[in-house]
């Protein structure tokens, strides 16, 4: 518990460092650029310089992996394969078509992007472990193909006549230094792009995607698209690293694509720090220098790497970058400077006026217009749900108006959460329809339902560790869902989202929590943060799954007050076991038992209904 709080505090401070008055993404880029250029200019012609350049090629790959694997938890083992694509592509164009390396590189990058898009569309349908296992096959298939066909030299490898530096008449030293500078510039570019993405509003989308895909979808993140974008980003960065590798080493060995290469990349990432772009760069440097350090180390590199990785992870799971950051923050604490709160420039506005403007959903449905005579917001028509022969929902029908507080009760296993999932879109019904304001949304995915104004909480808490309360609520206020990741290199509307989030927090009396990291909060407060997140986008329909669970009596009363206030503006449907709370606040109560709706009525009827009494209360 101690470690969790400490590490999340460090992460929040780190994000504060990046997000402060300096234009976002510039700090790590400048660091890499300055150090790299100096190094190449001073030592470029010596052995240590060439190791540095080699490491820089790998660092481009690991930077992409930091974004893809480290921050967004999209574990794909595709980078070594695409490093091979980049390297072999350049080698082939240079050897067989006499194309200069510097021209071949962008061509190969475009080709890699296309292959990555094709491959990614298939592979990113899977999630989590399935994704990892599916992509684990890639290096195995690739190496089998390369050594089997003797493609481009097979096990012997492919030499290149050309170098990265375009002028063939230049001396060797100029070519070396020049080539090295080109690599450094591109590395700085890669770091810049990564940092810009991570500090943008889409960065928050990626973080919540990494926490839990289902939650991300319910918050409007277009998970299939983001996963594909991340996959392509990782692959293109890898291809660039590979192309530059070929250009600077003038040789492509078969070991570049085999599974141990992929493992080596992972070691670089995790030693350096998976949630840190700079860390990824450092990791590449450390491993490459180790491999060239001494003969003994080079021969026994496996032992050294295994030992180093174990020790580093034991000290700090966030790798060397984590160790450095802890050291820095301890030093600052020792020197007496208070750590910044990490609000990143967001200004907390005055307490908002009681009437909030309803946020127009990003995508207005173009189906039939709302029939003013029929004020129903949500209509569930004859919904059935079966899981392999087991009937979970049977012929459930209900309607909800535009405003009000409604409760869904029932014994355990009655199907309440399933019904919420059907309304929220994460579970399609076997039969029946879900109709929102007259439009049939039964087949719409969860992120689209979010745009339509449906917002929900889940039974378990899914907040982004290491980020502040403000940022966690801001995830629900993003306007970036329809934009591509690439646009965030240029601009970000994170501040807008943070402003809206701070208003939502103020409305709930939680403004004082805005700067706290979520891991330091108690479970009850975390649930309130999730509630704030669900309310922040001014939803039309709010689905709450057991919001009072684990709350004390005082907190329940406060929750009841909040819900009553919200219900004057929105329709709220809550699944709840606390019958006293339910009868106190709801204007209508639905009771599910064994998948069927057995009661639909007001609190008085609820208290006196014989059906309800036998089921829930016991006569």
């Amino acid at each position: 518990m101690n470690g969790l709080v400490a590490s999340s505090r460090r992460s929040a401070q780190r994000s504060a460092l990046v997000a402060s008055r300096v234009p976002r993404g510039l700090t790590p880029t400048a660091l890499v650029a300055v150090v790299g250029v100096l190094f190449v200019l001073i030592w470029g012609q010596q052995y240590t310089g060439s190791v540095f350049v080699l490491a820089a090629c790998y660092a481009i790959v690991t930077a992409g992996m930091a974004v893809q694997i480290g921050f967004s938890q999209q574990i794909a083992f595709s980078q070594s394969v695409f490093m091979g694509v980049g390297a072999y592509g350049v080698a082939m164009l240079n050897t067989h078509y006499n194309m200069p390396v510097l021209l071949a590189t962008p061509i190969v990058l475009v080709g890699s992007a296309l292959v990555a898009i094709l491959l990614g569309s298939v592979v990113t349908r899977a999630s989590g472990l399935a994704l990892a296992v599916a992509t684990l096959m890639l290096p195995l298939i690739a190496v089998g193909y390369v050594s089997g066909t003797g493609f481009l030299g097979g096990a012997v490898g492919a030499p290149l006549p050309g170098t990265l530096w375009p002028s063939s008449s230049a001396s060797t030293s100029v070519a070396l230094v020049g080539g090295g500078l080109i690599v450094i510039v591109l590395l700085a570019l890669a770091v810049f792009i990564s940092a810009r993405i991570l500090t943008s509003d889409i960065g928050l989308e990626l973080f919540v995607l990494g926490v839990d895909e289902r939650t991300a979808a319910a918050l409007g993140v277009r998970t299939p698209r983001r996963k594909l974008e991340l996959f392509v980003l990782g692959c293109v960065f890898a291809a660039l690293g590979g192309a530059l590798y070929a250009g600077t080493q003038q040789f492509v060995p078969e070991t570049l694509v085999d599974p141990t290469a992929e493992l080596a990349l992972l070691i670089m990432l995790f030693i350096g720090g998976r949630r840190s772009v700079i860390g990824a760069v450092i990791g590449a440097l450390v491993i490459q220098y180790l491999q060239g350090a001494s003969n003994w180390v080079s021969v026994n590199i496996l032992v050294v790497e295994g030992l180093l990785l174990t020790v580093v992870l034991l000290v700090d799971p966030e790798g060397l970058a984590g160790i450095v950051t802890t050291g820095v923050s301890r030093l600052r604490a020792r020197l007496g400077s208070a750590p910044s709160e990490g609000l990143g420039g967001a200004r907390l506005s005055e307490p908002s006026s009681p009437r909030r403007k309803r946020q127009t959903p990003d995508e207005v449905d173009s189906a039939e217009p709302v029939d003013l005579a029929d004020p129903a917001l949500l209509e569930i028509r004859s919904v059935f749900k079966e899981y392999g022969g087991l009937s979970v929902l049977e012929d459930v029908s209900l309607t909800l108006p535009e405003r009000g507080l409604f409760a869904l009760c029932g014994p355990n296993g009655a199907g309440k959460s399933t019904l919420l999932n059907v309304i929220g879109g994460s579970v399609p019904p076997s039969q029946g329809q879900v109709i929102l304001s007259g439009a049939d949304i039964t087949r719409r995915p969860p992120h689209e339902r979010f745009y339509q104004g449906i917002s929900r909480t889940f039974q378990s808490v899914h907040l982004i560790k290491g980020r502040t309360v403000l940022d966690n609520v801001a995830v629900a206020c993003l306007a970036s869902h329809k934009s591509s990741i690439a646009t965030r290199i240029a601009r970000s509307r994170l501040d807008d989202a943070r402003e809206q989030a701070s208003r939502a927090l103020a409305d709930l009396g939680m403004a004082h929590l805005a700067g706290r990291e979520v891991s330091s909060l108690t479970l009850e407060t975390q649930r309130m943060v999730e509630l704030a997140r669900a309310l922040a986008p001014n939803p039309r329909l709010l689905l709450l799954d057991e919001p009072a669970s684990g709350l004390s009596e005082d907190q329940r009363q406060r929750l009841a007050g909040v819900l009553a206030a919200v219900a004057t503006r929105t329709c709220v449907l809550l699944v709840e076991h606390d019958l006293a709370l339910v009868a106190q606040v709801s204007e209508r109560i639905f009771v599910l038992a064994a998948g069927r709706l057995v009661f639909d009525g007001g609190p008085e009827d609820f208290r006196s209904s014989p059906v309800v009494n036998t089921l829930l209360v016991g006569s």
Binding site: M1, N2, N412, G413, T522, E524, G550, S552, L616, V617
Partner: protein, 244 residues
């Protein structure tokens, strides 16, 4: 031992026999999770044969008291079980000296059968499966909830909430405890089931086991218990009513 299951705390305090020993003595107990202090200072005693309710609002430390006392979590302060100093953080020690916990949210083994779940309660006092199956405590545990008989071979994860709570209590009973500590027995249960659970607890108490029950809603607990300990903000002490 005169405390019966139906004496409410508001009436004249039930008298324990003068010679009843102290089953559990807790002094200045404090429990922390990292930086968060859940229990500051808890001091109370439970006499043999008592049924003691630990009540107070959620989030005030009731469960943490039980976790600290039974050794599930490390604690500071003194705990004595039947006069012996309890070893800090040692669940097996506590179990061998007669204190068994039925934890919050049941914590059953979902892919093991109901019978196996209950049988594992015997692990506190034996490693032999044969002895466990033939033992008195196991038999008593099975008899306690006849409605489980049809489900003995069923996987515990497929039972309803109420049935799972019964299994959890049966597992506690199979450990042959002298003191049974039950944490929030009716969490998430329908009223009818909660009544059944309390009837079983009353029966256990009648058979001579000392009971400690943690409950957020005191009404039910106080129909059973003759003592209560109130917990507020991590501080717990013997209450005035019914103090032994």
């Amino acid at each position: 031992m005169t405390a019966t299951g139906s004496t409410p705390a508001e009436s004249a305090p039930a008298e324990s026999t003068p010679k009843a020993g102290v089953a559990l003595a807790v002094r200045n107990l404090s429990v922390s999770y990292g930086n968060v202090v859940a229990v500051h200072d808890a001091t109370f005693t439970v006499a043999e044969g008592d049924a003691c309710a630990i009540i107070g609002p959620n989030g005030n430390g009731k469960s943490s008291i039980l976790m600290g006392v039974t050794g599930m979590i490390r604690r500071r302060g003194a705990v004595e079980i039947f006069g012996a100093q309890a070893r800090n953080g040692d669940v097996r020690w506590a179990a061998r000296h007669g204190l068994t916990l039925v934890p919050e949210r049941r914590q059953l083994y979902p892919d093991l059968s109901t019978a196996d779940n209950i049988l594992l309660g015997c692990y506190t006092w034996t490693r032999s499966i044969g002895k466990a199956r033939r033992s008195g405590p196991f038999a008593r545990a099975i008899e306690l909830f006849p409605e489980l008989n049809l489900h003995l071979k069923q996987l515990a994860g497929t039972l309803s909430g109420g049935q799972q709570q019964m299994v959890a209590i049966a597992r506690g009973l199979a450990a042959d405890p002298k003191i049974l500590a039950v944490d929030e027995p009716c969490l998430g249960l329908a009223e009818a089931v909660a009544k059944r659970v309390y009837a079983a607890l009353a029966k256990i108490h009648q058979q001579g086991t000392t009971l400690i029950v943690v409950e957020e809603a005191p009404r039910r607990a106080l129909t059973l218990c003759n003592r209560r300990v109130e917990v507020r903000n991590g501080v717990a002490g013997d209450s005035v009513a019914g103090a032994a």
